[in-house]
């Protein structure tokens, strides 16, 4: 049974983070970079399929979007996607203002809003009661900020964001299912793999001549 909640007089489906992560990865055709925030966000990205262009964070709550902006600045021809939980984003809301003010448009921000700090015991965040992430992002100046209303709508919004030439924030209401995997926790390997995926480092350094 699909559950829905009403946002802005229209129903929004409560979706599954792993399912949406898989849908996202399937849509990536041009080596887009993906920076995934602490905890469940990067666990489900990991479980959705490893790619050299994925970066998995092991801490630094709320920095997925700033890191994604940095990648987008360094590589203006590549599209960059940041994935962040609602709790993490609430910790660094100022980042939305910084990103809104910046000229980079090759950036898509995706928020998994399960209305809780799920990984630390599912305590409710402010989004469970009063705070609307999309309104916050719009207020910060990110004009293209919207709710994904169903998994199909999510895919349509992601496609549009990747090709649309305008930075976009997509928020999805997600359920309380646990993540489907655990990221391998070697930060140097994660970073090196990512830099190779972005073409900054060569994968051939240790290859036989």
């Amino acid at each position: 049974m699909t559950q829905t909640i009403t946002i802005g007089n229209a129903p929004v489906e409560i979706m599954n983070r792993f399912d949406l992560s898989q849908r996202l990865v399937r849509l990536l055709k041009n080596d887009e970079a993906v920076v995934a925030g602490i905890g469940n966000t990067n666990f489900d990205l990991w479980a959705a399929g490893r790619r050299p262009q994925n970066f998995y964070m092991l801490g630094s709550m709320g920095l997925a979007f700033p890191i994604a902006l940095g990648v987008a600045i360094a590589q203006p021809k590549r599209h960059v996607i940041g994935l962040e939980g609602d709790g993490s984003l609430l910790m660094q809301l100022g980042a939305l203002a910084t990103i809104a003010a910046h000229k980079a448009q090759n950036l898509t921000m995706i928020v998994w809003d399960n209305q809780s700090y799920q990984i630390t015991g599912a305590q409710p965040t402010a989004t469970a009661r009063v705070t609307d992430i999309v309104d916050v992002a719009r207020g910060c100046g990110i004009k293209q900020s919207l709710w994904a209303r169903s998994p199909d709508d999510f895919e349509a919004q992601v496609k549009k964001a990747i090709t649309g030439g305008e930075k976009t924030l997509i928020a999805a209401k997600t359920d309380k299912e646990p993540p489907r995997g655990q990221t391998h926790r070697d930060p140097v390997l994660i970073r090196e793999n990512f830099m190779q995926g972005l073409g900054v480092r060569s994968a051939k350094t240790f290859a036989p001549d």
């Binding site: 920095l63 600045i73 100022g94 980042a95 203002a97």
Partner: protein
């Protein structure tokens, strides 16, 4: 060109002492005069030259009064992309992403801004081996008037030491280029962050 000149300037004192500078006084005076005319003369021009020479293109910052001429100078130079952020953690995040994408960056902040960073230094810069350059205007010492600043200042070096990360306090203008230049190079080659603490002895500090 500029690099050789600046480094020569740094070593000049040593050379002069070693050779006793016999018979070369007038040449030295001439060279000094030449260098004074061509080398950057203010601490912030030295910083801009060293950042540029080391291809540190992306600068993120949270404002500080003492850093204002440096920020203005960087913003006025098209070589740099300069981004004001709402918080220092965010500034470090942006520079980290850019470095992984192939662009070097530095973060400018004051002492109290640094005090917000231990979590991100310990969970991002150090474990992922990201050579972010942190440039801190030192408040809270040598004539500070705000007790809060003074206490915050005392947390900075213990934090840096506890994470075993490279840091230098710059007090003299004639040493600044050398310290900044070498620290950037070392950070990149050893893949570790480096912190430069700019003492009021260098910058003049904040005067009421």
């Amino acid at each position: 060109m500029r690099r050789a000149r600046l480094h020569y300037r740094h070593f000049e004192g040593t050379t002069a002492v070693q050779t006793g500078a016999a018979g070369s006084t007038s040449r030295m005076i001439q060279e000094r005069r030449h260098m004074a005319e061509t080398a950057p003369s203010s601490w912030f021009d030295i910083a801009i030259a060293a950042l540029k020479r080391n291809e540190v293109k992306l600068i993120t910052f949270v404002p500080d009064r003492v850093l204002t001429p440096l920020i203005k100078g960087l913003e006025g130079d098209p070589y740099f992309e300069v981004i004001g952020t709402t918080r220092e953690e965010e500034a470090v995040g942006i520079v980290s992403g850019a470095w992984m994408g192939g662009v070097r960056g530095a973060v400018l902040m004051q002492t109290s801004g640094f005090a917000t960073l231990p979590n991100v230094i310990a969970s991002l810069l150090v474990p992922y081996q990201i050579p972010a350059i942190l440039i801190v205007s030192e408040r809270g010492t040598l004539g500070e008037f705000n007790i809060g600043q003074a206490l915050v200042c005392r947390t900075m070096r213990p934090v840096l030491d506890s994470l075993a990360t490279e840091h230098h306090t710059v007090t003299r203008i004639d040493e600044f280029d050398f310290i900044l230049d070498r620290s950037i190079q070392q950070a990149v080659k050893t893949q570790s962050p480096a912190t430069l603490i700019l003492s009021p002895l260098l910058t003049g500090g904040k005067v009421l």
